[in-house]
Amino acid sequence: MSVEPRWASGVCEGLHAAGSRHVVYVPDNPLSHVLRILRESFPDVTTTLATREEEAFGIAAGLYLGGARPTVMLQSSGLGNSLNALTSLLVPYRIPMLIVISMRGDAGEWNDAQVPMGRAVRPICDAIGLPHVTVDTPDTTADTVRLVGQTAFGTRLPGVCLLPRRLTACPPKPRRRRVPS
């Protein structure tokens, strides 16, 4: 598959290969590419929009209890909104899911307000016991996402895939078209 951008298509292929058919998300700009490719090329994947990241983790937990292998997608800023769900539901109950986080506040950031949380993402994951892997290049995205997902579902612990801005911001996203969806 050669849908652009390649990292986004890799996220879709990776989560699909890990057996995930449900994606619960709060969107951001880079993730809009993933959502578009899922809609256009992965008809067996259901996407559900949550009002807030913590809610997304609750919905995904219920999906897992019902036998699904859920993916949650969010921007790094939303990790702060999610900590109680992660620490008092997913980790103690060993409810696994693939977590894909679009990073802000790292190299390439322009917004001061994104920097403190961006810097805190990895230490927070370490502190609460969530394994995390940072995707390096567009070419390795699909395999990395797949492996993080397979490890999460195999060991019954959520696994985090971080998408740095140097991956998602280059090349620049196409100009937004003003057409009704």
């Binding site: 619960v24 259901t46 809610e55 983790f57 919905i59 219920g62 209890l65 103690p92 109950y93």
Partner: protein, 195 residues
Amino acid sequence: MNRLDATRLLVAAVDAEPIVASLGHPAYDLFAAGDRPANFYTWGSMGLASSIGLGLALARPELRVFVVDGDGSLLMNLGSLATIGWTRPPNLVLIVWDNEAYATTGGQKTATAHGADLEAAARAMGATATATVATEEAFGAAIARARVEPGPWVIVAKVAESAPAVKPPLDCVFIKQRFMAAIGQAEDATRGGRA
């Protein structure tokens, strides 16, 4: 109607359907009313019981999924009503024990004590099968309908506090594994198999 009596009525009315309980007193009363493998007791994640129920209802459309939430908990995750309102799982039944207080933490008044109307909020967000009940008769009738008629149902039950004296099992992984097995979804890792 107090919450424990209403919970007993619910447990007696359901068959094998899963019940997801919000942390604290709703979970304690569900355990007191009748411990069963298809009870999912939360020990944290305040506010997320309705979200967990929504995800379960979406994954298992053939199951009628019950949630026992609290007014304080639902107020902490009101966005859940919006998501339930547009995804409209017909098999979700959200019961809100509304005692107008944070009873688990000492009885501080919630917004519903000052007029906030959670049934009206659910309707405003798109749920059409809703009720507010204050007696065991009315609650029993609402549950009987919610078991068979399409939802999503949001039933606000005005209840008195019931001071539960027992607690559900503490082991979260045990609760999860027992629950998943009860709804026919046992985790692979609990089963063993070919080498």
